[in-house]
């Protein structure tokens, strides 16, 4: 196809390269990096270029969709599973919704790739172990590819391929430092977190699969349009079942109640991963799924309500936990769960544009926050490193190299574990890491929903929608928004203000350009992202754009009451947090000032309301016990040993020995048998003499036989 033609009619033929581009990068790094001894920069560049190429393709596709006035286009690559009426294909779907997701995924993804080059190089856990660095970028590229399959698939099953694919990448990247815990001590913790994420996601996938089966047998297809068409005439019960099972999938992937538990643990992964996968892109897949299925969700308001309640409940619940966390990334993780709750609530209420809008802005500012947090953690690490060097002087300098191979970097020389992510160790970082501080501030304000940052516009749209339709949801979300501003304020005061509570914080160092520049881009987007969809007539750009795909789009005007309430509450929350944490900065070793007034409530927040423990008690431990019981007692000792070796074999032996030998036969058969044996023995003893071993005597007996037979023939 000629370029000019493509410019006029669209670049749809490029669609497969959404997936192939990152895969190419992956393969290059996988195959050639060892042969040609790629430097770290080279590996990172290849991966970033691959991801960037996907971004370019996304841009071209979005452009193509726009010049076609939002008309949906398909690109059929190959058939996948065709059996009878089951027809699954590798078909890419390009419409305004999917291209939006592509842009977010590849755009944020590329920035994070670039950031990761610097971050992974600086990460102290990374001991120049051969292949680790490359492995990270291979996983990242794989993730981009899987995510692209997810957002560009034209059927629920192709979406599911990406859906599980990103789950795999999540597993691999959470468990990237699989031999240690978050403090780099040798431990199973990180790999446990990875496993937890995968299995929890699988529970969600189970729901997705069941929804898929129902879809196929009652709606006859997996292809989006065909499903939507058939759904219109299908009985409500089926649609409710489908949508609710799908909700299980959404809860798994987008970390909603009750399956959100994996996401906080997922912070064990390197920070770029937390930003990319566990904040900006993968976890929003559930929101995308509901938006994509808008046409079936709108058919069943009762299911929609359940979705919205789940989202709102999660938003509030996670926000409370975020208040009680000390780890800088854990706070952000619960914040992510909470914000995902906002989005799910939005799409549940049918405010798809608002949900997507928040998804996009959240991708910007949460990625920004995570990456800045990563920068803070690295700064702390460097400070700590710096200290260790000073304390150890020269004699330690030599030993350091040797020890460098072992995994004890988290320890300082007293053997005490230093946690660079613990906010109680920080303080006053504003001075040592000014760039990071300002970037973090932008992210915080955007998340807290302060005018005119991106978060303000998107969150407000959700709240506005809720206030119009579901009052209870509106209040839950508003309360969650208040707490969001509060815990972000708490975090900022604890991290950047006051005095350093640890030597490391005092010696923290600013991060290199390769990390801060992508952050600045994200910061700019966090500031300006709101412009995508301003609540003024003629500025509903995103709404208009998504309107091509989504049947009904509300474009609400700005409601000053709602916006006013949320802004005032956010400011009040920030003020409260200043009152508690900023006015009197925390001292080293001091307990959280909230602990006293809130008492056991704060203990609950601190301990995540003991949900993990609950799951352990109710599901995991019983399952372990049950499987142990089944395996050891039922299968092995009972079925394998007892039934087979004792009952069956034993019965056989018993029958043959006791029954036959002792009772029936002792008298009759036995005696005869004995006699027979003895007789045979004596006869054979006699006959044995004939067998004297002399060939000639054998020959003689043959001759005798011949003579006798001839004689018989003659005289018969």
């Amino acid at each position: 196809m000629h370029l000019s033609e493509a410019v006029n009619s669209g670049f749809f033929f490029l669609a497969p390269w959404l997936v192939f581009a990152p895969l190419t990068g992956l393969l290059i790094n996988l195959i050639f990096s060892k042969w040609f001894k790629f430097s770290e920069k080279m590996v990172g560049t290849v991966a970033s270029l691959a991801s960037g190429a996907a971004f370019v393709v996304s841009v071209l596709l979005a452009y193509s969709v726009s010049i076609n006035h939002g008309e949906m286009m398909r690109w059929h690559l190959a058939e996948w599973i065709h059996i009878g009426t089951l027809e699954l294909d590798w078909t890419f779907r390009m419409d305004s919704l999917s291209t939006t997701m592509m842009l977010v995924v590849s755009g944020v993804g590329t920035l994070i790739h670039i950031y990761a080059i610097g971050y992974m190089h600086e990460d102290v856990r990374f001991k120049k172990e051969e292949g680790r660095f490359t492995r990270f970028f291979i996983f990242l590229n794989l993730f981009i590819a899987a995510m692209m399959i997810l957002v560009s698939g034209d059927s629920y099953m192709m979406l599911f391929v990406g859906w599980e694919g990103v789950g795999l990448c999540s597993f691999l990247l959470i468990g990237f430092w699989y031999e240690m815990d978050t403090l780099a001590r040798p431990s199973w913790a990180n790999s446990n977190a990875a496993k937890k994420a995968f299995i929890t996601n699988r529970v969600g996938d189970f729901g997705f699969l069941i929804a898929g089966f129902l879809m196929f047998w009652y709606l006859g297809s997996f292809q989006f349009d065909e499903v939507f068409e058939a759904a219109k005439t299908a009985p409500d019960g089926i649609i409710v079942a489908i949508t609710l099972f799908m909700l299980v999938g959404v809860a798994g992937k987008s970390a909603q109640i009750p399956l959100y538990i994996w996401l906080p643990d997922a912070m064990a992964g390197p920070t770029p991963v937390s930003a990319l996968i566990h904040a900006a892109t993968m976890v929003t897949a559930g929101v995308y799924l509901v938006t994509r299925s808008a046409e079936i969700y709108t058919l069943v308001p009762q299911a929609q309500y359940i979705v919205a309640m789940t989202g709102a409940g999660t938003a509030l619940f996670a926000a409370t936990i975020a208040v009680g966390q000390y780890d800088i990334k854990k706070v952000l993780a619960y914040s992510t769960i909470s914000q995902l709750g906002f989005m799910v609530a939005a799409v549940g209420m049918g405010a798809y544009v608002a949900g997507m809008f928040h998804l996009i802005t959240h991708a910007f500012f949460k990625a920004l926050l995570f990456l800045s947090a990563g920068s803070v953690i690295l700064g702390m690490e460097r400070g700590h490193h710096h200290l260790a060097h000073h304390a150890a002087h020269d004699d330690h300098g030599k030993g350091k190299k040797k020890e460098g191979k072992k995994e004890d970097h988290g320890h300082d020389e007293h053997g005490e574990v230093f946690d660079p992510g613990d906010m109680r160790n920080m303080g006053g970082l504003r001075k040592t890491m000014p760039v990071t501080f300002w970037l973090y501030m932008i992210g915080t304000l955007a998340l807290a929903g302060i005018f005119p940052f991106a978060g303000f516009w998107s969150k407000d749209e959700i709240l506005l929608d809720a206030s119009l339709h579901f009052t209870s949801i509106y209040w839950q979300l508003t309360l969650a928004a208040f707490m969001t501003a509060f815990y972000m304020g708490r975090q900022v005061w604890m991290v950047f203000f006051g005095k350093p509570r640890h030597e490391a914080a005092a010696h923290a160092e600013e991060s290199p350009k390769v990390m801060t520049v992508p952050l600045m881009v994200l910061a700019a987007l966090s500031v300006l992202g709101g412009a995508l969809n301003l609540p003024f007539e003629g500025f509903h750009n995103l709404g208009h754009w998504l309107g091509y795909t989504l049947a009904e789009v509300e474009s609400l005007p700005l409601d000053l009451k709602v916006a006013g309430i949320s802004t005032v509450l956010a400011l009040a929350a920030i003020f409260t947090s200043w009152w508690i944490y900023g006015r009197n900065p925390l001292k080293a070793g001091q307990i959280d000032p909230l602990k006293k007034p809130l008492g056991f409530i704060f203990t609950g927040m601190e301990n995540k309301w003991f949900v993990d423990e609950g799951y352990f008690a109710i599901i995991i431990n019983p399952f372990k016990k049950a499987s142990q019981f089944l395996a050891d007692v039922i299968d092995w000792r009972f079925w394998h040993d007892f039934v087979h070796d004792t009952v069956i074999l034993g019965t056989y032996n018993w029958l043959s020995e006791i029954a036959l030998n002792n009772y029936a036969d002792q008298k009759g058969i036995d005696r005869f048998a004995n006699w027979l044996g003895e007789a045979t023995q004596s006869v054979s003893a006699t006959l044995r003499k004939v067998q004297n071993g002399f060939v000639r005597s054998y020959a003689l007996s043959v001759m005798l036989g011949v003579v006798l037979i001839l004689g018989y023939l003659i005289f018969k």
């Binding site: 005597s697 003689l700 001839l710």
Partner: protein, 174 residues
């Protein structure tokens, strides 16, 4: 009594004598030579019976190849005279007795069913020897093709077997 019968009687005497000589010679070399003699007389019988090809085979294969092989082995092992043993004292008398009975029995059988009018045809009288050879070949390669081929396999196996059995083990093994 025609000349043919005379030849037969003389030669059969020679054959029996050679056989006895083979059995009773102390020296294995003599035994072998007696056996060669026996074979040659039997070959003449074959000629008398109108089987020139078999006669030639008899001379070449038996009297030639096989007996040479025997002689070689005798040379190799030494034509020793084994010392008398007490191991099977009744073996010899019993053997004589049985042999006697067997001869009597077979003679009896032959004469019992004698058909004096059945006589062998003289050589060359009715059958051209080349012609008979051709016919025999036709029979062998049509009717008996498979046994013929199997025989070749048998010979191959025997050859391999003989080589394997007498192969010298390499030094170091055993």
């Amino acid at each position: 009594m025609n000349s043919e019968l005379i030849v037969f009687l003389v030669l059969s005497l020679v054959a029996v004598a050679a056989g006895l000589g083979m059995v009773f010679s102390r020296n294995a070399v003599y035994s072998a030579l007696f056996l060669v003699l026996n074979f040659i007389t039997v070959a003449v019988f074959y000629l008398l019976l109108g089987a020139p090809f078999i006669a030639m085979s008899q001379i070449t294969v038996y009297a030639g190849a096989i007996m040479v092989l025997f002689l070689f082995v005798i040379m190799l092992l030494g034509a020793e005279n084994l010392p008398p043993t007490k191991s099977l004292p009744w073996q010899k008398p019993l053997a004589y007795i049985l042999a006697g009975i067997l001869v009597v029995e077979s003679l009896y059988l032959v004469f019992l069913q004698a058909q004096p009018d059945m006589v062998v045809t003289a050589p060359g009288a009715s059958v051209n020897s080349m012609e008979s050879l051709r016919e025999m070949a036709m029979t062998m390669f049509n009717q008996f093709l498979l046994p013929f081929e199997v025989t070749s396999v048998l010979l191959l196996v025997a050859m391999v077997g003989a080589i394997v059995l007498t192969k010298r083990e390499k030094a170091g093994q055993k």
